[in-house]
Symmetry: none
Subunit: 256 residues, 2 copies
């Protein structure tokens, strides 16, 4: 049982269909599929809502609608209000991230309502009072009012990432083993002398620099193979030059 299947996004008194549609898309992006509207107060047609749902129109079409807040959350084992404000009844708010694990544990047992209030005034005090949990999304003090579908997105995103239901793509090339990296350093040292980038007594100093460059982040077998190819070819070039006797007469002075 995927706990996300038991999440119910409940929009209360929503004014604009566009926010409903955008919320559907955000939910779909985060693997959450059950939408409920409680006492919607829609001021425009569904055309905009359907347009903004894009490929999540199934969520929009399958929405459940309730006349009141109470009915919309009646079957839920937890009722999680979201609020941008502090104050009365709002002292026990938590950040979504701090709460996501607990909410998923509850969702493994039954439906969990995540409730979002009106665009203009959020949830009313009597609605807040009925919530078992309160969430407040961390926002900058300079602009605390977050768009409804953006609030839906962040809350769903925190539940989705906590559920661990996603797999980040893996680096396909395997990381370079240490022996290959040592070979790389050795061949580069030789090449850098061959092309007169450094003298052999400077090798320790310069190779520490290259070691640093090639140690930044993951370094794959392909990376190492590419750089080994450069060393081979530059060394070949330098040897040809030496054999043709030109090196002695036209020596460059190095890293000026």
């Amino acid at each position: 049982m995927n706990a996300l299947e038991n999440i119910r996004v409940v929009l209360v008194g929503t004014l604009y269909t566009g926010n409903v549609g955008s919320s559907c898309r955000a939910m779909a992006n985060m693997g959450i599929r059950h939408l409920r509207l409680a006492a919607p107060n829609l001021q425009n047609s569904w055309e905009e809502g359907e347009r903004l749902a894009v490929h999540a129109t199934d969520i929009l079409a399958n929405r459940e609608q309730f006349a009141t807040f109470e009915e919309a959350v009646a079957d839920c084992v937890a009722v999680v209000g979201t609020t941008a404000r502090e104050g009365l009844y709002r002292q026990h708010v938590k950040a979504p991230r701090a709460c996501a694990g607990e909410l998923l544990a509850l969702a493994a047992q039954g439906p969990v309502a995540i409730v979002f209030g009106r665009e203009d005034k959020g949830l009313l005090n009597e609605e807040i009072a009925q919530c078992t949990h309160l969430l407040r999304i961390p926002v900058d003090e300079g602009y605390t009012s977050i768009n409804l579908s953006q609030a839906v997105l962040i809350t769903c995103y925190e539940l989705f990432t906590a559920a661990g239901d996603y797999v980040l793509p893996r680096e396909k090339a395997p990381p370079a083993p240490q022996a290959q990296k040592r070979q790389l350093m050795k061949n580069w040292a030789q090449m850098l002398e061959d092309i007169r980038f450094m003298k052999s007594e400077q090798a320790d100093h310069f190779m520490q620099g290259f070691q640093r460059v090639f140690s930044r982040g993951v370094f794959t077998r392909d990376d190492a193979a590419l750089l080994l190819g450069v060393a081979r070819q530059a060394s070949w070039c330098a040897r040809q030059l030496a054999e043709n006797g030109a090196a002695e007469t036209a020596a460059n002075t190095g890293q000026g």
Copy 2:
């Protein structure tokens, strides 16, 4: 210095002003205030953009505009692409949360570009290739296409929440700016042709590989200077060889 002040949200080839406006609001909610548009391709008037920015119209009004992607990120010490796709050149993507601390540490040292592509086709391969970091927002496999302003919001949210308690480790050498890195790629491409590592028609392919190698982790000015020195010296070596007429008679076949 607040590292968030050094974040530059860069929207590339954006089609709809509404997404720009919604992005401004999302940025303001997360304490990020600098917007850049690179080669915008806007299909509608600013009326919608201004309406959706709501109380973040100052961010919209103060936007910087650039003719090209390259110009928009030229002064940045890190260029962070966002992508919904996997595949070629995208193997080293990270989740925003996994990367946020590192990006803030870089932003403490200089401007960091967070780059978002077109609504319909994201960032192009040649733009991805210029990025030093790649982010992919975790999304459900059932619907991976996320709205532009929603992507901006989640990325900014992760930076904002990470900034809340993050202690910044500092790299002593300053990070290399994008213009220096472009010079590095250009000089290396020339050098690799000079030493016959690749033919010019293979340059696109190989340089993507070197771009990848040199984008792993932080890349400092010293790193770039070191590798520029290698290119200069190897190219000198190859030119000497050519002038001595040896190249034609003893051509090596390349990266066998």
